[in-house]
């Protein structure tokens, strides 16, 4: 795509280990008050790692007419929908345009797999899965899109993107296309990923989890801290007073390896370059970069190489994953929300837990929250399989 017309973000919300709703998430991020704690989740309590767990998720009640959808992922999805009057905003958007014209594009990496994990642990004597287990409305990747559309009453374009950690950033790109080509008049985008044994044990087997709270870009960093989160935004072609604007987006593939990034950050650079190009902005017009910044040795160094190559070494950058944890398929929307609030308040959250910046990283990593120009900011999300997405936000169209 050569150009993207500005897309209005009329409403947004986020729920993570930092709290329910935009306000506690941004406030705690600015204060450097991390939501990470020692892992005590189910059978993963034996793992020596820190996580961003949200309390009381399992107490959320799914409406009885949607009970087949009941699983941790959808309880978290519903908990997040109930914050910041987002349900009201979404429903009034649907009323304004008509339900058939409002799309739902969600992102998730593991969907309701926790439900399947529990079902496999409860096989009956003939090896069958239990009667209470329903695959399609819980585990299936498409389930979260259908669940959210059902709660909201949206009847337009509905898909669930699943590209690992870039999922809920790519939802913005997909929505921009659907809006620009008028398949939808508004799109509710979002992401949700909830704690499960698959990711806790899976990342551990790849030796990608840290035994201390993650410290992205630090010389001693040694892995991620997994978190769970959910968030949403409403995107429209125009709006009189939106919260912010999506000005550009870039997507690319590393074409290198399934679980390690391109060593020179080639895909990352292509994604950021495309975000700038579609927004018709120059690197010097970017006031802040919210890094993907997972805390792995490979990601942080390759990402920062790409950032410095493209944007230079002066622009303030930070990863917020040491505050929320790495929320996997939800990190795109979580970090979009924090990036937008950074612009709205002209103050970017710091890269919490940074003690000594890795000398091989030349980017300007801000350790504490820092004032920024209220102009434009980039948010990066990169996933397994080399899937990259970079989003460019601004306060004016």
């Amino acid at each position: 795509m050569t150009q993207q017309a500005p897309i209005a973000i009329s409403s947004f919300t986020v729920t993570s280990a930092l709290g329910t709703g935009r306000v506690p998430n941004y406030r705690r991020a600015i204060e450097g008050d991390s939501g990470l704690g020692r892992c005590n989740f189910s059978d993963a309590a034996s793992l020596d790692t820190w996580i961003g767990e949200i309390s009381n998720v399992d107490e959320v009640r799914i409406p009885s007419d949607l009970s087949p959808f009941d699983c941790r992922n959808h309880r978290l999805a519903l908990l997040a929908l109930e914050q910041d009057q987002f349900l009201d905003d979404a429903r009034s958007t649907i009323q304004r345009y008509g339900a058939d014209r409002v799309g739902v594009i969600m992102g998730t990496s593991t969907s309701g797999i926790r439900q399947t994990e529990m079902a496999y642990a409860s096989l009956d004597s003939s090896g069958e899965l239990p009667d209470w287990y329903h695959y399609l409305p819980t585990q299936n990747i498409g389930a979260v899109g259908h669940f959210v559309a059902s709660i909201l009453g949206a009847r337009g374009y509905c898909v669930t993107i699943s590209t690992a950690c870039s999922s809920s950033a790519k939802v913005f790109a997909s929505a921009a296309r659907a809006l620009q080509q008028e398949v939808c008049d508004a799109v509710i985008v979002g992401g949700v990923d909830s704690l499960c044994l698959t990711t806790l044990f899976g990342f551990a087997s790849l030796q990608l989890t840290s035994s201390i709270p993650c410290n992205p870009c630090d010389i001693d960093r040694d892995g991620i801290s997994i978190g769970e989160a959910a968030g949403y935004a409403i995107l429209e072609r125009t709006h009189t007073q939106p919260a912010a604007w999506l000005l550009g987006h870039g997507e690319s593939a590393d074409a290198h390896h399934m679980s390690s990034p391109h060593p020179e950050g080639k895909g990352a650079r292509l994604a950021m370059q495309a975000a700038l190009a579609t927004a018709r902005l120059e690197p010097e017009e970017v006031a802040y970069v919210n890094l993907h910044g997972t805390g792995t040795i490979a990601n942080d160094s390759t990402e920062c190489t790409a950032v410095c190559d493209l944007l230079g070494t002066a622009i303030p950058c930070s990863s917020t994953k040491s505050l929320t944890g790495h929320t996997l398929g939800a990190c795109g929307i979580v970090e979009a929300a924090l990036t937008i609030q950074a612009l709205q308040n002209a103050m970017a959250p710091g890269n919490h837990n940074l003690r000594t910046r890795d000398p091989q990283i030349s980017a300007n990593i801000i350790g504490k929250s820092h004032p920024i120009a209220a102009t434009h900011a980039l948010s990066n999300s990169f996933g397994f399989g080399g899937s990259n997405c970079s989003l460019l936000f601004g306060l004016d169209p």
Partner: protein, 263 residues
């Protein structure tokens, strides 16, 4: 929303490629009854990866390589949409089985293969393509939504775009809960509307109000892969294979209607 069709690929054991599908629809060939069920060996994967490739990746590659063999131009740097309702059921089964044991050992390879975009990732590595790629699911609506997503991407990027839609059968005990009995997949190499005039077949895709029933497939493929949600494409594939213009509809909320015109 219009796209032109450059190349079609299709696979299910009883109709192993698109050419065969066209012959079946034309009444010149029969559905394959005695299927060999040999594991497909993806030619474009390096030997080690080829040996370890999952059934889901093998099916996706079979389709991509079928397209590649018929495409007139290089497939590198082509944006892709990989659509699967359930992704890699075999790996999910392996992981959840392993997690039900005390050791809870997940192999690193199984873990990175469990992401829904694993086949897309492998394809981008095999084709050395840095172009954008999306992987998604819409449950049983995956195929009609894939047509929409791929057309949107094709027209946004203004270049040839590859759509791959596929589903494999789950192993037991998952299969009882997700009864898909055979693999099925299709791939379409699409051209944007600006170039659609050069295509033999043009699709005009409209997403709108709910539709209550799918169009009927051609009677000669009416019983093919009935339990596989991607086989919902068969009425459309029949209209593409046939030489008459047609309007095909896909049930759902939203519904999708596709006008097929032959140039």
């Amino acid at each position: 929303m219009k796209v032109g069709i450059q190349v079609v690929a299709l696979y299910t054991p009883c109709v192993p490629d698109w050419y065969h599908c066209m012959e079946v629809i034309a009444g010149r060939a029969a559905i394959v009854v005695d299927q060999t069920n040999e594991r497909y060996q993806p030619a474009s994967l390096p030997r080690n990866e080829r040996r370890r490739a999952t059934n889901s990746t093998r099916l996706a590659f079979r389709l991509c390589e079928q397209v590649q063999n018929h495409a007139s131009s290089n497939m590198a740097d082509i944006p892709t949409v990989f659509a699967s309702s359930g992704g890699d059921y075999d790996v999910i089964h392996k992981i959840c089985s392993a997690l039900s044991l005390d050791e809870k050992f997940i192999s690193p390879t199984d873990f990175h293969n469990s992401v829904h975009n694993a086949p897309a990732g492998y394809w981008s590595i095999a084709s050395q393509s840095h172009a954008p790629s999306t992987s998604f699911s819409a449950g049983d609506a995956t195929f009609p939504m894939a047509l929409v997503e791929a057309s949107l991407l094709c027209n946004a990027e203004q270049c040839s775009t590859l759509l791959v839609a596929y589903d494999i059968p789950p192993p037991q005990p998952l299969r009882t809960k997700r009864p898909i009995e055979e693999p099925f997949g299709i791939a379409l190499l699409l051209d944007p509307e600006s170039k659609a005039g050069e295509s033999k077949v043009v699709l005009d895709i409209v997403l709108g109000a709910a539709v209550s029933i799918d169009s009927q497939p051609h009677r000669r493929v009416a019983n093919v892969a009935l339990s596989n949600p991607i086989a919902r494409c068969l009425p459309l594939m029949g209209a593409i294979a046939d030489e008459h213009d047609a309007e095909i509809q896909f049930a759902g909320t939203p519904g999708v209607k596709v006008k097929v015109t032959h140039g």
